[in-house]
């Protein structure tokens, strides 16, 4: 691992959180990754992160770590908005998605405003 910012591109699951009120990254937002213990309903926590000033964090799954399955990204959005002195509607945001190809690089960003959010699978 080199000094300084590691290559985000090496990870197989990354995210990015953007505050669409300010048009700036959402820094200091807590995120965790869970995997469904099939057939469910239990989830197992795999990783915890906080976004940096760029709204990004270390990969949640490193290259080679992903297995096919159902995963959940859990974003502590209410705490984030509270820290900025905003009220917001959602206590948190959960994004539940499939990993079908463990070799694929997945980027799952989240765009947030107090009464709305948007998420997509990017690259």
């Amino acid at each position: 691992q080199a000094d300084g910012m590691p290559e985000v591109g090496n990870g197989s699951l990354t995210t990015h959180v953007l505050n669409t009120v300010t048009g700036l990254p959402a820094a200091g937002l807590a995120i965790r990754l869970e995997q469904l213990q099939e057939p469910g309903p239990q989830w197992k926590e795999l990783a915890q992160r906080h976004t940096d000033t760029d709204g990004r964090c270390q990969p949640l799954l490193a290259a080679g770590e992903a297995k096919a399955g159902i995963y959940k990204l859990y974003f502590e959005t209410a705490a984030y908005w509270q820290g900025l002195g905003h009220t917001s509607f959602y206590p948190y945001v959960e994004v539940v998605f499939n990993i079908t190809d463990p070799g694929q690089k997945l980027h799952v960003p989240l765009l947030i405003s107090p009464y709305s959010y948007s998420t997509y699978r990017g690259s």
Binding site: F89, P91, T100, L111, S116, S118, T119, Y120, R121
Partner: protein, 147 residues
């Protein structure tokens, strides 16, 4: 962002339609209104299964109702004023089934929206969800406490 343009158009439409067609928006009898839109076809998303849960004291989710969106992608009667007391709710939309019925393999297992309701008196809630196979967006419109 394109999603926000869609929302603005949708919300304007909601406001305009609310007088003429009461079942297109929440009202006192049915204070929670869901609308699901398909951004691939530019249409409502009909027949999307939606479950409504309420958080119980022990943190588990209690299923209150399970219904499908209508032809207009709307779900007006998911709960009633009597059932919709103060608390934390979860909407779980089976978006994967919607896309799979069209022969598409979507990214998300489902779309859920967790929100608190009626903490300061009875309000009306409109929840819009815009779908595509690799993306979804949701917006809430919450009224001031009514009556």
């Amino acid at each position: 962002m394109a999603f926000y343009s869609v929302f603005l158009v949708f919300l304007t439409g909601l406001a305009l339609c609310s007088e003429a067609t009461p079942l297109d928006s929440p009202d006192s009898k049915h204070p929670l209104y869901i609308r699901v839109l398909d951004s691939v076809r530019g249409s409502p998303a009909p027949n999307v299964p939606v479950k409504l849960y309420k958080e119980a004291a022990d943190g588990s989710w209690e299923l209150l109702n399970s219904k499908q969106t209508n032809d207009k992608g709307g779900l007006p009667e998911l709960t009633t004023k009597e059932q919709f007391g103060a608390g934390v709710y979860k909407l779980e939309l089976d978006t994967a089934s919607y896309w799979k019925s069209m022969g598409l393999n979507p990214f998300h297992h489902h779309a859920d929206v967790v929100f608190p309701a009626n903490d300061a008196g009875y309000r009306h809630y409109s929840i819009a969800v815009v779908l595509s196979p690799f993306s979804y967006s949701t917006t809430a419109v919450v009224s001031e406490p009514v009556e």
